[in-house]
């Protein structure tokens, strides 16, 4: 349990802002956080991405001090948080529904933490006003909370925490309650705020797009453990596990049996007899069951097979439905022999916008840009729902 020693003695200046060592939490028969260790560098934007129930909220609440861990340690700015009450930790939290105090106006909300530290009244006001100005809410300090728009509330919640100059700002899916348009806007705003303040942000979310857009580093969490940690690009292009491949970004999920290996490329055959190729990740044995992931944008589709690259295997398919979504438009194809449904992104030029349901087309992809893993049974069930369009025809 106590593997924490090396970190506790570290020089506080060089220590990461957040260090988590062997952290565990058990709820009845459910292991919410399972022997987790990681650290977050100073000034970075770190996201924890996972489906609901993966333990990310428990992890965040343990960092904030609202939930006591069963084992392990949390270090903030190099200092152990064991026995430190939530109101004495150098972390602040932006709550899921913001938890702005409705009985106080905007200014009082921002001043609240300062006043608790015994900062003089005038000084409180000065700092709160300066902070409100920085988040673009100058002059709003006399407004009531219910007079603010969703985006403004968000900024007040962040201002209320940042005015205390915490080592670490925790954000618990704060964008979840906003509508789509505002959410897109707030993503950008949040990233800019973090960049301008330079405070370390730890952000939890179940929305992979938020995590990818906002973060310097993302950890994908599942069943109380991190499946993978890395930059958004690494997670997207080099998923370490089938779970990550299925959870981060859209992906076609193809389950089959390994029929052969040619260097780095594996050959997979589905039950319906469709033969596909993908880059091998990890060890796998011929005859064992594997799962491959092919991203929609990796697949090329053409009316004429001859237009597809020469060196890729070509498949014939039929347009099953058109999924028009502006620049994200895609088409759902049914592979001719196996009737497997595969989602294919359409070129953004609009070149194939005239495709019609029922039309016969050809498609192919570069197998080095697809990836396959040995099945471990557990992960497959979690990924099955990640992209409805990839159901097995």
């Amino acid at each position: 349990m106590s593997t924490a020693e090396p970190l506790t003695t570290a020089d506080p200046l060089s220590a990461p802002d957040l260090g988590v060592v062997g952290l565990s939490k058990q709820f009845a028969d459910h292991r919410a956080v399972d022997d987790l260790s990681f650290s977050v560098d100073r000034g970075s934007f770190f996201s924890i991405l996972g489906p609901s129930g993966c333990g990310k909220t428990t992890l965040l609440r343990m960092i904030a001090g609202f939930t006591l861990p069963d084992g392990g340690n949390i270090l903030i700015g190099g200092r152990s948080m064991q026995g430190v009450a939530p109101n004495r930790r150098p972390v602040n939290m932006v709550f899921q529904h913001l938890a702005l105090f409705p009985m106080m106006n905007v200014g009082e909300n921002v001043e609240f933490g300062l006043a608790r530290r015994g900062v003089q009244r005038g000084e409180c006001r000065r700092r709160a006003d300066a902070m409100l100005q920085r988040v673009g809410l100058a002059g709003a300090s006399h407004k009531r909370i219910d007079e603010l728009s969703g985006g403004q509330r968000q900024r007040v919640a962040i201002a209320r925490s940042l005015v205390l100059e915490p080592t670490l700002l925790l954000l618990d899916e704060p964008l979840g309650a906003l509508d789509l348009k505002l959410r897109e806007h707030m993503k950008i705003e949040l990233k800019q705020l973090q960049a301008s303040f330079g405070t370390t942000f730890v952000y939890i979310t179940h929305d992979q797009s938020e995590a990818l857009v906002l973060s310097d580093h993302v950890a994908v969490m599942n069943r109380g453990r991190f499946e993978q940690r890395g930059t958004p690009q690494e997670l997207y292009y080099e998923p370490a596990t089938a779970f990550v491949a299925g959870f981060v970004g859209a992906n076609n999920h193809i389950v089959g049996r390994l029929t052969g290996v040619d260097g780095a490329i594996a050959e997979i055959e589905t039950d319906a007899g469709w033969r596909v190729h993908a880059r091998k990740s990890g060890t796998m044995t011929v005859g064992g069951s594997v799962e491959a992931f092919v991203r929609p944008e990796v697949v090329s589709v053409e009316r004429e097979a001859a237009l597809l690259p020469q060196d890729h295997v070509r498949y014939a398919g039929e347009v099953q439905s058109l999924l028009f979504d502006g620049a994200n438009s895609a088409v759902l194809l049914t592979e001719e022999r196996s009737h497997f449904n595969i989602r294919v992104a359409l070129p953004q030029t609009g070149r194939l916008a005239s495709l019609e349901v029922g039309e016969r087309v050809s498609f192919s992809y570069d197998p080095r840009r697809a990836i396959c893993f040995a099945s471990d049974g557990a992960a497959t069930s979690a990924t099955g729902s990640s992209m409805p369009a990839s159901s097995h025809g």
């Binding site: 939530p86 109101n87 105090f101 009985m103 933490g113």
Partner: protein, 289 residues
């Protein structure tokens, strides 16, 4: 949908019972009571308008002494009830969870389904000189002989607080229930301690419930007859007893009516003051409780 005509008819039919109820049983009786209190009897069956009853009240020290005493005791009982009920409401809403919480709430309500008469009987048996507590105290040597625990002001206050608890617990629970736990966590997170959370977050949020509870408890205590009368005996000196005496024992209805109006005025004034102080609206508060 409905014709205009039909709606008019429906409206009239529905208004009739409401108006009959409110005017025949509330408005007119009180107007009559007011008129009654403002008339003087000059000779048998001869009356004229005058302030004699109110003059009597202010010139007779016993009367206004009892009046002031009743008001102060009622305020004291209200404050005590709030202090005792608040932690329980807090435990029900924020500490106990799930079944334990609802069970505790129901258990707190149970005694109040039983008549106040029964509860007063319980206190009588417990507290009178030959009662359970004095006998126990004497047995354990805490007092030399069984002492009379009835007929003290403390006894009256105990009885009044006991009777009033429910009316405080219920509005407090409903107002604390709506307090989002994340607000408290957020305040902790921003460095607040228990006391400042209570002062800045919990009490401002629960203010409507506190006001509602205090108003109802104060009013019920002020207008209570049974508990002060039984537990206080001759020492109770409760204002409602004066009203009863004037009306039922002495048949001096004019004087009784004046006393009744003074009590009503006091009750209304305190209720209005409470609403003003906490910035609440009457309708909202009553709906809440």
């Amino acid at each position: 949908m409905h014709g205009v005509w039909q709606r008019r008819l429906m409206l009239t039919l529905l208004l009739a019972p409401a108006l009959l109820w409110l005017f025949a049983l509330i408005v007119l009786p009180h107007v009559d009571l007011a008129l009654l209190s403002f008339r003087e009897r000059t000779a048998p069956r001869e009356y004229q308008a005058g302030l004699a009853q109110y003059r009597t009240f202010f010139t007779e020290p016993l009367y206004w002494h009892v009046f002031v005493r009743t008001a102060i005791m009622s305020m004291l009982a209200t404050a005590l009830t709030l202090v005792i009920a608040f932690p329980i409401a807090w435990v029900i809403t924020k500490v106990a969870r799930g079944r334990a919480s609802s069970l505790l709430f129901v258990v707190c309500l149970i005694p109040f389904w039983v008549s106040e008469t029964v509860r007063a009987l319980g206190w009588l048996i417990l507290l009178r000189e030959s009662g359970v507590l004095p006998v126990l105290l004497a047995k354990f040597g805490l007092t030399a002989v069984p002492v009379e625990l009835l007929y003290h002001d403390t006894t009256i206050l105990t009885g009044l607080v006991y009777t009033s608890l429910l009316f405080m617990v219920v509005p407090l629970v409903s107002s604390l229930e709506s307090l989002d736990d994340s607000l408290i966590e957020a305040a902790y997170d921003l460095g607040a301690n228990g006391l400042s959370i209570l002062r800045r977050i919990v009490i401002p949020h629960a203010a409507p419930g506190i006001t509602a509870g205090c108003i109802v408890v104060f009013m019920l205590t002020l207008g209570n007859y049974l508990t002060p009368n039984l537990l206080g005996g001759k020492n109770s000196q409760w204002f409602t007893e004066l009203i009863y005496t004037q009306f039922i024992v002495r048949f001096n209805w004019e004087q009784g009516a004046a006393f009744g109006f003074l009590l009503l005025a006091l009750s209304t004034a305190i209720v209005a003051l409470g609403l003003r102080l906490s910035g609440q609206r009457f309708v909202d508060v009553m709906r809440r409780s």
